[in-house]
Structure formats: C-alpha cells, structure tokens
Amino acid sequence: MRSLALAGTALRRIAHDRTSLFFLVALPVVIIVLLGVSVSDQESFRVGVVGSGSGRQGASLTTALETDAAMDVHRFEGADAEDRARTALRRGELDSVVVIPDDADETAAAGAVVEVAVLGEQTNATHRAAGQAVTAVVADQGAVIAAARARATVVAGEQADHVAAAQAMAAGTPPVEVRTTVVDADSGILPGGFAYSTPTMLVLFVFITSVAGSAQMIESRRLGIHERMLAGPVTPWTIVAGETASHLTVALLQSVLIVGVGSLVFGVSWGDPVAATALVVLWALVGTGAGVLAGSLFRTPEQATAIGVSAGMAAGMLGGCMWPLEIVGDTMRTVGHAMPHAWAVDAWVELLSRGGGLGDIAAQLAVLAGFAAVLLTAATLRLRARLTA
C-alpha cells in the first residue's frame, strides 16, 4: 500500500513537469507521425522529367510516366532544368531523373534509336528500382513505335501516321502482368528496406523513456528523500516496489499512447490482441527493469539522461528498431540479438506480418521474460543495497 502511495507521488511529479510530459507524450507522437508521413509518402517512385516539352516523343513519354501509378512525376522546365533535377536527385529528393533529348522527334523520324538517359546512383537500391520502372515505361513506348513501323510496312505510309493506331491497340491490350504474392504474410505493416514503423518505435521509445526517466529517481536519492523515508516505518522493499511500480505505469501508459496513435493515425492493426497485450506488458517490464537498474547505477541525473538516451538509441539500432536486421550482416544480426529489442521486434514481425498468435511468439516472449527477470532482479538487489548501505 505504502509503495503504491510512493508510486503515486512519483507519477504526480511527472504529470506536473512539462519537460517530462514533452518526452513522454509529445516527442514520441511527433516522431512517429513524421516518420509515418515520410514512409507513406514513399509508396511511389519520385521521378524528375527533363525535356518533357521536346516534341511529340517527349510529350507522349511524359504522359506515359505520369499515368503510371507507381510514379510520382515532377516536371523540370526552363534554362537550368537538368541542373535542378540533378541537385534534387543528389539530395535524395528524387529517386530517378529522366532526360529526354531535344532532338527525339528527328531521331525517331530518321529511324535511329532515341536514347533517353535515366540518371540514378547504381549503388542505391531505390534508384535502381526506380530506374527499372522508368525503363519499363520507355520500353512500352518503344513497343508502340516498333508496332507502328511494322504497320507502316503492311499498310503504306510513314511510321508517324501509324503511331495513333498502335497506341490505340496498346491501350486496348492488357500489359504483361507480373503478379507478386507474399507467401507467408497477411499484411505488410512492418515495411522492409529502410522504412521505419510504429511497432519498432514503440520498442525504442518505451525503453529510452524508462532509462532516461530514472533521472527522477536519482534526484530522490541524492536529495536524501529515500533515506528520510527509511527513517519512518518504511522498509527498503517498499521503496523498491514503489519505484518499480511508477516506472511500470509510465511504460504502460506510453505504450498505450503509441498503440493508440498507431491505430488512429496510421490504421496500424496490432494483431492478435492477447499476444499483443502480452508483448506490450513484457516489454514494459523489460523497460522498467532497465530503468530502475539505471536509477540505482548512475550517480547523477545528467548521467541518466546522457548515457541512458545514448545507450537506449544504440540498443535500438543494434536490435533492429531503426532499420530491419535483414539488411545487416550475420555478425551484426547475432550481436543484435544480445539486446532484448531484437526479440521484441521479431515478435512484432511475427504478430503483424504473419498474423501469428500467442503460440507463435512463445519463444520471443520467453526470452523477453528472461531479460525482464534478470534486469528487475539486478535492479531490485542493487537499489536495496544502495538504500541499506
């Protein structure tokens, strides 16, 4: 009972502190919303087109690119169009730049090959994919011209006279379809590549907040609040339980907030409710253990914020919160699984992308429970030792 009162006091202190609220509520929500917007903005390739005004070839290729659902086309016109497009590409604001030559119409009429430059960094996977999408559209244009040439040999006339007929036929012919099936998934909430997502941010933030939140506990210790409490009819265990309860409450509240924002703003479906709840609660316990341990190890509140935030970010990077562990090497993946984060992220992938249930993430939950038990025990013993020393 006394420990609950202690936890209540700690929580009231947090609720009255605008800085704490900023880090608990505002910062995670803003970061998640911004990341979400950035990711959803990237569903199509951003393609810059230079020379859209260069005759019939330019106009028809630009229209074809614009009607392609996979592309978000930005036209660059005017004197230094190509320079501006190259700058945007270099800064990563575009995935590909298409340069249509000024003399495209003359080249085509002469029966020569019109070469359309597709600019991109070949070492960049997105640039390569965008380049291939552009190549496919250019090839469709080539098909139309080839068909028009063929028609010109059957029916008399110039190739240009038959382009319209070929285009009409092409529009009526369904494209050669490439049908992609993900064999082991129900949904793609955890996107691959370099995309971030709400579930991994949940893992990242709850941990960092808990470790950084130990600053308050250290302040209580330094001010001698704990010692004064011990002078009364309060046992060290009560204080340990109270501090743990307040950390756990904060972790759970923040989880609920992030789950809520994910569902409401981005329509994230959090999978099987029982399994998701178990995962959220276990993760809150891991965070609590780390937070209380930090509170008993660090000497000053500044250390908790400085070292705690840095360590939390580092653990998140290792554990696949900032990028999927698919892209790292085997060694880094193994090292990453020394962090509880990697197991939590694995469990979320199982729940959300494969529609798994409690049984499917049993192994991950067991590992997380192990982490939570070790951290909480270490934290309890260490804090108790500090209090009775």
Partner: protein
C-alpha cells in the same frame, strides 16, 4: 577583458571535460551511433539473393528469360535455382531455402506471338523484402520484349497482314534494336553514403546537448554565488559572457571536429573538402553559442533552463533532419529545415560529401546559420539583459 574571458572559458572547459556526461554526449555517444550505423549499412552493399525459377513455358520466350537470369551481368546479385513446379518454388520461398521465386507460365511464348495474356508469378517472403523487390523488377524488365512482340503481332494482324507477314515482322522486330531506349547513367556526383548523412546529423544532435549543459552550469553558478564573486572581481560582465560563449564554442567545435576526423579516419566516411567542413563546423558552433545565450536569457531557474534546452535540442534535431533522412521527408518538412542551423549545416555537409564545389556548397548554409545566430543572439541579448548581475 580578453584575459578575463579566456580564464573563465578555460575554467569552464576544465569543468566540462571533468564531467563524464559531457564527454559521453559530446564524443562517445555520437561516435558509437556512427559506428553502429556503419556496421549495419556496410553489409547492405553486399546484397545477394537466391531466386527460384520455374520454366513452365518450355518455349523460346521462357528459355530466353532463363538465359537472361543466368547471365554473368546478374551473377553478383542473384543465384538462380530451378524448380519443377510452381508449388515446389512456393514451398521453397516459404521455408526460406530461396529468397524469392519467378514462375514463367505455360503460354508465355504463345503470348509473345499474340496469344492470350498470362501473368508471370513472383513469390516473395516477409523475411526477404528487398530480394522480393529486386526479383519483381527483374521479371518486369524481361517482359518488355514480350510486350513489343505481342503488340507488333496484334497491330499487324489488325492492319490486315497475313500470318506469314506477321511471322516475318516478328522475326524482324525480335532482332532490330528498340526505337526508344532507356540508358541507365550514373550521376557524376559521389553517391550519398548513409554515413555521410547520419554522421554529421548525429554529431550535430549531440552537440546541441551542450546548450543544456552550459545553461544549467550558468544557473548553478548563480545559485552558488560564483557569478556574484566574479562580479565582485575587476572583470566586466561582458567578459564573463564572452568567456562562457568561448567555452561553448570551443567545446562544440572540438566535438564536431573529433567526429569528422574520427569517422573519416576510422570508418572512411568522406565528409568532403576539409575547408568547407571546417567552415560549417564553425557556423554550427556559433549557432550553439547563440542558443545557449537564449536559454540563459529566457529561463529563470535551472529547471526551466534544463527543460527549455532539451526541447530545443530535440525539436531542432527533428526538424533539421538528424533523425530522419530529409530527402525522403515531405516537402513541408524540408522547407522547415531551413529554420534550423543544423538543417542548414547538414545540407552543406551532404553537398560537400557528394562532391559539390566547396563554395557553392557552403555559401547558403553559412548565410542561413549566420542569420539564425544573429536573430537568436539578438533575442537573447534583449531577454537576458542583466542576467549576469540579476
């Protein structure tokens, strides 16, 4: 005045470097982050996937695509493994023995000659997203030739060509070069490596923490009477402020300089022209001085200073692109970045790293940071008049 300022700055710096938290935030943490990113992304360049292929077509079109997949051009990206049936390939993707699979359907060759359309199936797995993407785009690339032949057959047939004529036209089309061709070109710039973006990004995020240290230190000194004692000494208040500013400036510059030197030497991250890098670091350090002055001028207590500076740190880091790659962010966010000194500096750093001419890369960012420093510094002066003697 100058001597007093230097003495005060030296004392502040000694204090700062004795504080383990300051060392962690200024030097250890950013290097750790960059080391981790480097370790993670250096593996990313060596992408390789094993792709299952089923040739249910058995005709020339299927054989052509299979040849293409096994060509030496693609050998360093994919390894091809053939399967007898679509079900076998699908099972292999599901159990992870291949990363993705392509099924070349029965009727593919017939489709090229104008027959009915049949889809090409690509199977992918959530465990190998990138491999799936690459496989689908490879499949798409191979379909364009089929599309050309099919359209030629359809158009010629509709125009009244005989079957023999169509066959001749197809033979001609299959061997003639395309009328319009996409030519993939590398840009003449250096590629933007993740480390060249997030290295400076992280360095500036952690440098912003020194705003909090400085401001809090100032309030502690006021509470403990150190400032009063300084005021009693024959030093002008301006010298005290100059000393404080100098210590922040030196600390910020040391942190940024160490980051650029160590990431360049240890991780081979090229930050670009060293003179340009130095100019940007100086600009950023000056902005940090102005921000510290603002917090000291506006806050009334140590607690307020702490809260205000952490909010500045995270807001600027977020808007300035330290956490997420600004190039892929919405245009609005990209425009907001020009309100932050770190956003300007980061733009300069990425321009330098991608090989832009040094003065072109540095001019606008320096102007942006100078404007920020001037505006914030002016507000700090107005708000903080008498802060030392208060």
């Amino acid at each position: 005045m100058l001597h007093g300022a230097v003495v005060i700055a030296a004392k502040d710096l000694r204090q700062r470097f004795r504080d383990r938290s300051a060392i962690v935030l200024g030097f250890v943490a950013p290097l750790l982050m960059v080391a981790l990113m480097n370790a993670a992304f250096s593996g990313a360049g060596e992408f390789h996937a094993t792709i299952g292929v089923v040739d249910a077509d058995g005709g020339v079109a299927g054989a052509g695509i299979l040849d293409g997949l096994q060509s030496p051009d693609l050998a360093d990206v994919i390894t091809v493994e053939t399967f007898p049936s679509a079900d076998a390939a699908r099972a292999a993707v599901d159990d992870g023995s291949v990363d993705a699979a392509i099924v070349l359907p029965d009727g593919l060759t017939a489709m090229a000659a104008g027959g009915p359309g049949v889809p090409i199936d690509v199977f992918t797995s959530v465990d190998a997203d990138l491999a799936g993407e690459v496989t689908a785009s490879i499949a798409t690339a191979f379909t364009s030739q089929i599309a050309t032949l099919r359209l030629t057959a359809a158009v010629a047939g509709e125009a009244g060509a005989t079957d023999d004529e169509v066959a001749a036209l197809l033979a001609a089309a299959a061997t003639s070069p395309p009328a319009i061709q996409a030519v993939q070109q590398a840009t003449s710039n250096e590629p933007l490596e993740p480390v060249a973006y997030f290295g400076p990004g992280m360095a500036m995020f952690f440098v912003l923490f020194s705003v909090g240290f400085t401001a809090r230190g100032f309030f502690v000194e006021r509470a403990t009477g150190t400032l009063d004692r300084m005021a009693a000494a024959p030093i002008r208040p301006e010298a005290v402020l100059a000393g404080k500013a100098l210590s922040v400036f030196v600390y910020a510059l040391a942190s940024l300089g160490t980051m650029s030197a160590v990431t360049a030497l240890v991780f081979g991250a090229s930050w670009g022209n060293p003179i340009g890098v130095a100019v940007l670091c100086v600009g950023m350090a000056a902005s940090v001085v102005a921000l510290s002055a603002l917090v000291m001028g506006v806050a009334r207590t140590e607690r307020q200073a702490e809260g205000l500076s952490s909010m500045f740190t995270f807001a600027l880091a977020l808007l300035g692109g330290s956490f997420l790659f600004l190039g892929s962010a919405p245009p609005l966010l990209r425009r907001l970045a020009v309100l932050t000194p770190n956003g300007w500096a980061l733009r300069g750093f990425t321009d330098l790293a991608t090989g832009v001419d040094v003065w072109t890369a540095v001019a606008a960012p320096v102007a942006g940071m100078a404007a920020f420093t001037a505006v914030v510094g002016a507000v700090a002066l107005v708000a903080g008049r008498g802060a030392v003697t208060r």
